[in-house]
Amino acid sequence: MDPLLFTSPARIRVLLVPVHPIKAPTFHRHVQLVKNFNVVRLGDVTPDMRGVQSAMFSSQLFHEGQLHFNFVTSYEPEHAYLEEFQMHRRIFGVIGIMDCCEWSNLKEGYNKFSEIIKNYRTAVAHRCFAFDPSEDQPDDTKGLIMIPNVGEMNFYMSTMISDFANNILTEFGNLATDIEKRQIIHSPKMPTPNSPQLQNGSNNQSQNGRYSVPQQSFSSPELKSSQAFSLTPPVQAMTTAGVGGAAAGVAPKESYHSRSFSSSTLVNIATQAANVPTDMKLKKRAPGRIHKLIADLYLMAGILPNAFQNYMLAIEATKANGDYLWHGSALEGLCVGLLLAAYLHAEIGPPIIQSQPLASPTSTDQPPSSPESPKVLWAETTEKYVQILTLYAKTSSSSNDQVPPIIYTEACLKVAKLLACIWVAGGWGDDALKLIVHGGTPEKGSNEKWGLSSVSGVSKIEITQWAMKGYGSYVEDMSITEQIHITTTLSTIFSIINLRRKHAFFLRQTALLILPLIAKPRNSSSQANKPTGSESGLLTCLKKITETYGIGDDVDQTDYSVIAEDARPLAFGWPDIQIDVLKDALTISDSLPDYPSMVKYTTRLLRKLFMYLHRDEQIRLSASIPRIVSAGKKQGLDMEFKYWGLNIVKGIQVCRPTSRRIPYPHAGKKLSLKNEEKKEGVSPFIYQSFNKKKADNTQTHLVANETSYFLVTLANPFAFDMDIQSISISTDGVAFTPNTMSITILANTSITLRLLGTPTEPGELIVRGCKIKVHGCLEQEFCVYLPPSDEEIKRKEKEEEYSKRIKKCGLAVLDNLSHTINNQKGNAQPIEHENSQSPTKKNFVPEFLKVSVISEQPLIKIKSTSLMHGAIMLFEGEQAEMTIKLENVGKIPVDFLSLSFSDSTIANAQALLNSSDMPAEEAYEMELYALKQSVFSWNQKDNVKILPGSEWIVNINVFGKRGCVNGTIQIDYGYLNRPNTSDDEPFYTRQVHYPVLLTIHQNLETISMDILNFKPLCGGENDGVVSSCPDNNKLIEDLLKVMKWNNKGTKEDFMEKMENDYCLLTFDIRNVWHVGFDVTIEADEGEEIDPLSITTTIQPTSTARIILPIKRISLSEKEYTQPIPSLSEKQFVVSKGPKGTEEQERLALALFWYREKLLQKIKAIWESPLTNQKGVVDIRSLRLNKSMLNVLKINEISFGIDIEDGSKVTKLSCNQFKCPVNEFVKMKFIIYNHQDKPSKLCIRIQPVQSYSDGIMEWDLSKRMVWNGLLQTPLPKIEPKSSVTYTLPICFFSRGDFKFLYHCEDVHSRIMYFDTQPLVVEVVDN
């Protein structure tokens, strides 16, 4: 029923009532059937041959006219007071619909129908249609019309309806007669006196109606109860008026009906009857009103010419006496008539022209003045309506005859709707007229343009203005049903003209109005939980409302299974409003109650707008969900639903296993760990920037059949605690057994969980995400989503840019997303639309974690060690041994074992090396200490095989390294020789670490090294012969035995053994411990000489001086000038320190190399007889200096002096001679070349006489003579050979003569000196 159809005044309202029992679907089916026949051409109306009286409505003159039935299934008595004013509101006919299947005795059925129709006293015609009669049911009941379901049903039906129409038209005649007789006709009056503004209290009286029966109180009391909601087909409706008077009129002509205008009538209002103010005035006005009413009847009867005629009369009359209300109403009727005439346009001409002369004198509005140009008819109509509204508005000033607000509103809305219809039909024309006359849902899309439609000439603005005019504040004072009608119509209008926000606004208004009506039946619990049609309609409303406000179902369309949503504001809409709307939706679905949509809206509210909601509200909403679910379940609904919130899984990581379980990959079986290391060492670059070291951290391997761990970060953005009933890892790929756990995430927090699971076979495991069951929801998979890639973002930006350019704004944005035009036809289209949108929507690429699962690995643990508490105490340099007992606790054997070690010193030393800029020799020392001295060492054994459950012992040597406090033993192990594996396959090892605490005590220290010449500087009394046999090992050994530690030998022995090739190395060893140690020093001089070994006991806190004869060392220049090597693969850095002179550099190098040579020779071992500990003494702390070096090294060129002259010359010591005076002696200078190359030298000799007081006498020509040159080149000296330069000399004078001499290389100008000058003591014979 559409009360606001523009042409509704021209329709005859017929109530279809079910004759119970009848099933609702059956009833509705039949209603539909009957509704097909709502238009009857006047020419088809069955001629009624009865009376002549009512021929006025059955005239065949205007047989092109049409009769429009308005078949309704419900009737609101609320507007009964208007029924006299606007007769189309009245029910003129009742058609009972009976289902023969339900009735055995049709007679009884008919009786029941007869009962029913008593309720509708305004009805002037009744029929009872009995559908689907069975064959055995006799068609003998009087008044009952059997409608067979076979044969020409349509024809039969149309005949019946025509007959019915005839009946009604006949009754119209009677009605008209009645009306004409009335003397007073009252204006309508709202029944409720509390209505404010527009009708303040005054009763609407008609003054001089001619009606003999002016007022009548309600005959049926039900009116007040008003319990029948229009939402359900009423079982019984009620009427205000009594059964009309006799329908006497019998029309001679064909279609013709009379109406029984019940004397009782609609001017119901009992109360008003009392105070009729001015009868006279009413009486005066009556004629106009009668004309108007008659015209209404003509209009309904489809006899337009007559209607026009009467309207004109009415307008004239009402205008004359200022009866604004009726004037307006007559104009309205006239407009309807004109439109109808336009609709039947062939017939337009005559009636209008006919009416024109009547109209023209009356007023400014000349409706028919433009019969030839119907295009402007709508404009005329609107103009006229402006006038009508003015007229209505005028009534408000008068105390009487106020226009009921509903009339005013309806007038506005009718115009709005009319215009909307024109707009949507694309302009004035048949299409528009059809819409206007028949109503129905217009098809959209034909006129979806911005702004003014050039075609229709109707602007949306105009429509809106009309529509909004009808929605004044007085609407709030109307009854709910009226308000619902108004808002519904408004929303329809706005929907038609595609103003979606307005549409949604009024739709929401409607829903809110309906709400209290719905709430009632629920409270009384009489309602079945099955949603009725109206409820589902309401839900559809909600859907549309939410869509317009940007929170429609499509925001949820990101299927919950892909929970990619993060907390971000909605792209569209007004949050405050959205919250309101969703709350309204919630309230409405709560009162239905519709649990699924309650859940839907609650979750949407939380999901989309939680950031705008207060904490308490969030808590309340979330708490309501389980309640709703359980309530829904009680009703037997399937209330399992998916998790609705935002993605709570923020990240998944494979947890690295404990260090002893980490498997380390290796390339192939044949490459042992060490080889790998070597390979790396081969690379010429110390730092390779391109060679990304594969950090093991990046890849974690899981091991089959072992529990693996995953770190999952969960976040709860809401202000309530989230109860997760179960959470487990969901995977793809190889088989995996996850373990589940449950947890509660507190409000607004995130937590990191450790989830377990066991992969059961090797291969690739894809960790998809988590399977989570949030309390009250279904279990679901949650993934982690990658942020959109750059490209994606760019593309989106582009799109946005584009959409900005084409100025899609406002709700058009929604269209862009996935707005579906409510095109009923296009149902398929929107789906496609959405699909095409979905790829752009799904920017979320789930991030799957790929983890490789390797085959089973053995597992070893250290069962025991030989150490106490993992600590060991050692003396510096001590060698000890420890054992580790391993046990295989895994399930497969171990056949590969490799140990590596680290200790605390290395890191320190490295740090020192890297940081400080120490001299190269220091650095070398440090490196040696750090790298070459290892605390731990291990003798690898082959054929390791540790079966599961068995044990294995590993022996490890431990060295007491100075400064070491702890160390780690790392054991790599694996199972390499598996069956069915090739050699090239990568394999994995695991590691066990064993930390060792070390305490290193210093027991001995070596200090104060010196190197001395064997040649004593001062002469002794000894006149022994200088030994020239350096290889006399025996002697030296003797010497050493004598001279060593206890110094027992005599000085003579020294002298005897004194020898050029040896020097003395001395140093102290101090025992700083409180136990004595036996120290053995070994000096290894090479192959030909047995190593020299000395053992001594050093008592606690005492010091022993060690004196060792060491063969002097000769290094070639090449050897001692090579740079100091570096043991670590350290990049060469140019020394930042001050660079020494060349000599200094050379010296430093020489010191370094000689020391190395020296230290190679010496070995010192200590032993503790008490504890049976032994170790080495650190002698590397000894340092050389330049003077020591001079002693130690054998010069490239060395000298030997001899004086040859028989017996008179004595050699006091090296380079000291005693020589008689005035005797010729031959002085021999022997020059050795130790170099590897021949050398050409020049010798210079300078004799001087030195006095005891230190004065030197240089001029010796009077004191001595010599035969030869003091300065002369020598012959070339071959490598490793010598030349002798002989200088015969005779001393004239006694005293001490000193010979200073040196050689100079003629090429390099290097001068070579002897260690001591030659001293000759000249004495008397």
Binding site: K460, I461, T464, M468, R501, F505, F572, W574, C809, V813
Partner: protein, 143 residues
């Protein structure tokens, strides 16, 4: 006299809202807070539904000030549309076109200044206190 002023972005999202003037004459009997709240919500709904008309009207004129575009009961909705399709909506009771035009112009000027802030993103809520004061001042001056 009370006013409700909102600036609405291109996505129907409010970027600025303010109410001035006295309200509460109607809420005599009821709890003033809830009534006020309700009223505020209704204001928002009215403004929102009037956007339809603004979108209709904006193509039919090249003036930025669209005058009174909609009427809801006794309330008028005046609109002003910026070049960037930002809608300034004012809900008011009495018609006074000139002063409302001035008010809108002033607000638009302030808005332009906001726009010039490189850190301001179009369509994002305006949180500037300075803007708020300016708008209130303009309201005091013109409305």
């Amino acid at each position: 006299m009370s006013f409700y002023f909102a600036i609405v972005g291109t996505k129907d999202n409010p970027i600025y809202e303010v109410e001035f003037g006295t309200s509460g004459t109607k809420s005599a009997g009821l709890d003033p807070n809830s009534k006020k709240d309700e009223h505020r919500h209704l204001n928002q709904f009215i403004i929102h539904s009037a956007l339809d008309i603004v979108e209709e009207l904006q193509w039919s004129t090249n003036a930025m000030y669209l005058k009174s575009v909609d009427k809801f009961n006794e309330w008028h909705v005046s609109a002003f549309i910026s070049a960037g399709n930002i809608k300034f909506m004012l809900l008011h009771e009495s018609k006074n076109e000139d002063s409302i035009r001035n008010f809108f112009n002033e607000c638009h000027e302030s808005y332009i200044k906001i726009l010039m802030n490189p850190f301001y993103e179009i369509n994002s809520p305006i949180t500037s206190i300075g803007f708020d004061t300016k708008v209130r001042y303009a309201a005091k001056r013109y409305l």
